[in-house]
């Protein structure tokens, strides 16, 4: 699904990703953990194609294609979805409208017929239930006046509608209370399946109580310094990130 080799990226003069290699296979869920400033969000944004970051080296292959060559909308249409850490507000544009435009752009490219308003509505209603999303929110302007939890839930709802092949969740758990966390996690778990891969970027272990990852990677100062199974997350929770720092200092 996704193969990253020695990926390097910088913003301005500051190098943030210093050679990341990661392989995510179809059907897998990977968690990327790390302290603040380790480069987690940068990695997510680089994969989604944000041009604030300049890729300075390495490669990324997505479904056999050169991901870094693709425009952000191209990546999205080919099934790459990112749930934003800070979802933006778009006044006057409803979530429904945004989603339909996005979904139909992808369908058009795949040679499929565009969904008409009725078909789209029934698809949306079905998915809204999964993330316990109030229908009135979907008809409101994108994220405008939404609470932090509603914004995050809206991201998961959009993911459910767009049915991506590779979903990247950028700190979707931050700022969520325990109920919202459970709803978000359920939404993600329902999407899990043999045709998809999910990358969960998080600072805390608690989300991984609900979304149990196949692999856990620890990102530190722009490098993956440790990888392991789901138990690595628990170990991190137990010992804290300082444990990694100390280990690295000793090495």
């Amino acid at each position: 699904m996704l193969e990253i080799k020695n990926l390097r990226a910088k913003v301005g003069d500051r190098e943030i990703l210093k050679g990341i290699s990661l392989t995510v296979k179809t059907g897998e869920v990977h968690a990327i953990m790390g302290p603040n400033g380790s480069g987690k969000s940068t990695l997510a944004q680089v994969l989604a194609g944000r041009d604030t970051y300049e890729v300075t080296g390495g490669e990324a292959t997505y479904q056999g294609k050169d991901l870094l060559e693709m425009a952000p909308e191209e990546r999205a249409r080919q099934g790459l979805f990112m749930a934003f850490q800070y979802p933006v507000e778009i006044p006057g544009v409803s979530t429904m409208y945004l989603l339909r435009a996005g979904l139909n752009a992808a369908r058009k490219q795949q040679g499929l017929e565009e969904l008409d308003a009725m078909d789209f509505l029934s698809l949306v209603k079905e998915q809204a239930k999964l993330v316990e999303m109030d229908e009135s929110l979907m008809n409101r302007s994108v994220n405008e006046g939404f609470s932090g939890g509603e914004k995050k839930r809206n991201e998961i709802f959009q993911m459910a509608v767009l049915q991506p092949k590779l979903a990247i969740l950028d700190e979707t758990d931050s700022g969520l209370d325990i109920d919202a966390l459970r709803i978000v996690a359920n939404g993600v778990n329902r999407l899990r399946g043999p045709d998809r891969a999910i990358i969960v970027v998080t600072h805390y272990q608690r989300l991984l109580n609900y979304i149990v990852p196949d692999r856990v990677h620890v990102l530190y100062e722009g490098r993956i310094v440790k990888s392991g199974g789901k138990e690595l997350a628990l170990e991190l929770e137990d010992k804290g990130y300082s444990w990694i720092e100390e280990k690295l200092a000793r090495a």
Partner: protein, 481 residues
């Protein structure tokens, strides 16, 4: 002159075959303006004496006036003696099919979703057997006549309904009003006239089916709409298709009169040639539009979408004279490349319990300069008058500008006014968010801009609203890297 300019001009100068047939002469009056020219214009139009006198009064007053300089737009001086004040149609060779038309122009029509038959008409292709609106127009004209609605060209109205013209002409925008309106009063060529009799609700949007005709506007157009007691009408002006014209100065006047319990809704989509990317050429659109809510409980509502012209100078206004009368102004103004717009409204509250609403959306891209200028004036007798104003500006890029000049004069302490203003920029993060959902940059900008304008678009008649959205996209094309 580019091919497209030429073909469109060919169209506008062609004898119009459908609907309003006006007397069209085949000759041209010499350049420049003097009393003799005004005599000639009036004579050629076979106008009654009162019209000639009115024109002359306006002309003599115009000579004493100075061109205004208070607005926030810049242009080289206009030589008023170099203009043809009566240009009769010249028959040029029209293209035989769409293949002969500038492909750039066709591409724009395509984007606007203009039906093929209409494209041909707009592009000036010989259309005799193509466009079926002849019959449509005739059918509707008959239906209107049954209801006693008069809808015709201004020239026809002067000849056939002189008593109405005499009573209402200049009653809202007097001949002495301002430099450009006064010039228009002296030399206006033609325009539209609508009269809705007592108690009649006009059953269709006026000019929807006549809009090609409406596009055939002169340089000095004049419109007069009268809604009698209890009457209501929705009037559409303009055309979303790009009309190119080599006349640089356009000075139109629109007067609306609403009597007791009458409603007039006036919607405009203006898409005159804005000039090229470097700011060369383009139309100066200096328009005076004003409505008088003469009767109690009357209502006048202006909705405008201004995307064209090199310079727009326009303040559709309401004089709220009748008690409980209502004035509304909804506006979207777009300036891209080197366009300049100084536009807004005046709400003059005279009667008791009068209410007005102003919602404006200014969008600046490229080197565009967008100014909102508005006046809310509450006179002494306007007890319990209310106004709500909302002026929002959206900036695309960092070379454009947005300016807001709201003037408020209140002479009655029982009135209530609210004013809200905001300026925002289309954010990189908003565009990226849309792209991450699979939407191209161009579509993302359209989406965001249309969202920004939503409150105004929903005031437009349905069919117009759809076209206006597309038009916005075309106008802003290439504005984001």
């Amino acid at each position: 002159m580019s091919t497209s300019t030429k073909t469109i001009q060919d169209l506008t100068e062609q004898e119009y075959k459908y609907g309003f047939v006006t007397d069209i002469e085949a000759e041209t009056i010499p350049r420049g303006l003097n009393e003799e020219i005004i005599h000639l214009i009036s004579e050629k139009k076979h106008e009654p004496e009162f019209m000639l006198e009115w024109r002359l009064k306006a002309y003599r007053h115009w000579l004493t006036m100075k061109e205004p300089t208070w607005h926030n737009v810049h242009y080289p001086p206009i030589d008023y003696q170099a203009i043809f004040y009566y240009s009769a149609p010249k028959m040029k060779k029209a293209p035989k099919s769409l293949e002969e038309v500038d492909p750039e122009l066709l591409k724009t029509y395509e984007k606007l979703g203009i039906p093929l038959a209409e494209q041909k008409l707009l592009a000036g292709v010989a259309v005799d057997a193509v466009f079926d609106s002849v019959s449509v127009a005739t059918t509707f004209k008959e239906k209107l006549a049954e209801l006693g609605i008069i809808f015709c060209s201004f020239s026809e109205a002067v000849l056939n309904h002189p008593e109405l013209v005499r009573k209402y002409l200049g009653s809202v925008v007097p001949y002495s009003d301002n430099f450009f309106a006064t010039l228009n009063s002296a030399v206006f060529s033609d325009g539209s006239f609508a009269y809705i009799p007592k108690g009649v609700r006009c059953p269709m949007e006026l000019s929807t089916y006549f809009r090609i005709n409406a596009a055939e506007t002169g340089q000095f157009e004049r419109t007069l709409i009268i809604a009698e007691e209890g009457a209501s009408v929705s009037y559409l002006e303009g055309c979303t298709a790009p009309i190119r014209d080599t006349n640089q100065l356009h000075a139109a006047v629109v007067e609306l009169v609403a009597l007791n319990n009458a409603t007039i809704k006036y919607s405009t989509v203006q898409n005159w040639y804005p000039g090229d990317r470097e700011g060369k050429g383009g139309i100066y659109n200096f328009v005076t539009k004003r409505g008088r809510c003469l009767g109690v409980n009357s209502k006048i509502s202006w909705t405008q979408v201004e995307t064209g012209s090199a310079i727009t100078w326009k303040y559709p206004s309401c004089i709220l004279q009748g008690d409980n009368s209502v004035g509304e102004f909804y506006s979207v103004a777009v300036t891209n490349n080197y366009q300049q717009a100084d536009t807004g409204t005046k709400m003059i509250h005279i009667g008791k319990n009068t209410r007005s609403t102003i919602v404006t959306k200014g969008i600046s891209a490229g080197h565009g300069q967008n100014t909102y200028r508005g006046l809310v004036k509450i006179l002494k007798g306007a007890a319990n008058a209310r106004n709500y104003s909302q002026c929002d500006s959206l900036l695309i890029g960092d070379k454009c500008g947005a300016h807001t000049f709201p003037y408020i004069e209140v002479k009655n302490s029982t009135s209530r006014l609210e004013h809200e203003a905001s300026t925002s920029k289309i954010g990189e993060d908003q565009i990226f968010y849309c792209r991450q959902r699979g939407i191209s940059t161009e579509d993302a900008v359209n989406l965001i801009v249309n969202g920004f304008c939503k409150e105004v678009f929903r005031e437009l008649p349905m069919e117009f609203a759809v076209e206006a959205q597309k038009l916005l996209g075309v106008s802003l094309e290439g504005s984001v890297g």
